[in-house]
Amino acid sequence: MTEPTPDVIAAHGLNEPEYAEVLNILGRAPNLVELGIFSVMWSEHCSYKSSKKWLKTLPTTAPWVICGPGENAGVVDIGDGQAAVFKMESHNHPSFIEPYQGAATGVGGILRDVFTMGARPVANLNALRFGSPDHPKTRHLVAGVVAGIGGYGNCVGVPTVGGEVNFHPAYNGNILVNAMTVGVAPADRIFYSAAAGVGNPVVYVGSKTGRDGIHGATMASAEFNEDSQEKRPTVQVGDPFTEKLLIEACLELMATDAIVAIQDMGAAGLTSSSFEMASKGGMGVELALDQVPMRETGMTPYELMLSESQERMLMVLKPGREDTARGIFEKWGLDFAIIGRLTDSGRMVLTWHGETVADLPIDPLAQASPEYDRPWVDTPAPAPLDEAALPAHPTWDAALATLIASPDVASRRWIWEQYDHMVMGDTVQRPGGDAAVVRLHGSNRGLALTTDCTPRYCRAHPESGGAQAVAEAYRNLSAVGARPLAVTDNMNFGNPEKPEIMGQFVGACRGMAAACEALEFPVVSGNVSLYNETAGEPILPTPAIGGLGVLEDVERMATIDLKAPGQALVLLGG
């Protein structure tokens, strides 16, 4: 086997110390398939190598937390034997390149994270940031992203009930598309990803694998530059119809006792799903890659391991349940293939028509991925505003007109009317209020949902901004009458190798941690998107917060509309 050249190693995004660690782990040079796997597993996107140290400082526990960060999504007990499963995830770079498909596949990915855990998705939300309204690309990006979110969510039949949108020139070359899904499951029927049982079959279901987004996971972690336009990586096309079938088929199979472990194939597809399942369960895996359902001819093991084709899942079944599972997936018209088995070797052995094409130790790859303590500098607290230097106060009428006309305040009706926000028949508070409220089907209880962040506060002072975002989510949930329970977050920042940017990240984490602690409002899931820069210009630090609360009686929920003339308006708080 020929050793990869420095160019090839660099193209896989591994720096010198990282490659040295690869050699150390393997005791030999990797082949191309193996190099590809390392590159994906150790990308920022999959390994959280820059952010891990700080994420660990967020409070993640409370008596009602069933599962905190570390699984596909967070799980909280919402009473009555039910659990809410939720998470937020970014699809920023793909959405800038192809807004419709980028946003659509973002929704598809986060839905899979939630139904993987056995929950039926009941609501989608999103947090969007675009460049200046008069930037030539903004209109096209807004239209495409909104249509893409609707195109996917509407078709799968999950209501999109809320979200937020801001405009700022800092996002001109790097928009943010963060999608959140909330699902509901019986609290004692949550499905996890840890593989177990030597000899158990490893099963692939969903769509066939094509050459989609090969290297997308590494792309998502590399700073954008001007020629990203030229490189134009293969953008993935979403198939919401297949996703809808996959939801129904998975939930149908989950109602039996056939599944040992299940994991969606998100970014980095088969690689990260198989390694994560094996590593969490302390198992080894043998996969016969030639058994993977393929969409195109001539695909290679390298491509199969790195493909980001959408609408696919990996499962470990109990022995003897293959036919039950196959029957369900075939009824729904989905691919089903037994592609391997679990072993006790602690190694990932990949074969191609009987020949071994990769043989890697699982834990060193999955768990010993690099973890950096990146240098950072604190963002100084801004000086108090000098009142004398402010422009004269406009008339109240003019101030009001300016505010209402501001793109950050103007009505979002144009957006949410493109989302089916009522399907499933439980949206008791539609978009437009402080938080959306979705009734728990068949009961009078409900979930309140919101996403919040004010990036200009976060830029002025990340710590206060991070705390403010959490507090705002808490307030929005309280305002409809819900008891706030937990949050998911999506940390969108620039290049963490720059100490000021890393300082923004650290500051935001500190603020969020303090607010979550004070409010007993733990972080149960989240996602980090770094390197959001174009030509060296970073976005505003944007720690988007998704909050979830519970209402015991939706008939007593509060709404924003003024109900009758003559009623008093009261201002609370300071």
């Binding site: 419709y100 134009r232 969409r295």
Partner: protein
């Protein structure tokens, strides 16, 4: 002057529509349909009378609006 633009998905890009049509044709009893790909055809009537100028203009329309060149290819035909 008339121009016809064919916009088709690039090779290797998933075509959910084509896939669904293929399986529906199978369901209707049509055997031997090995692949289905669906694209768009856009017919333009132009004031322009010079074929070369018309082609140049339509190619520009394709790049700017009619095709999504990230995932689609296009072909322009000009007829008198």
């Amino acid at each position: 002057m008339k121009a016809t633009v064919h916009v088709t998905l690039k090779n290797g890009v998933l075509d959910p529509q084509g896939k669904a049509v293929q399986s529906a044709l199978g369901g209707l009893g049509f055997a031997g349909v090995e692949e289905v790909r669906q694209g768009k055809v856009i017919e333009l009537t132009l004031a322009e009378t010079d074929p070369e100028a018309a082609r140049a203009s339509v190619e520009k329309m394709c790049r700017e609006l009619l095709a999504n060149t990230v995932i689609e290819d296009y072909r322009v035909d000009i007829e008198g």
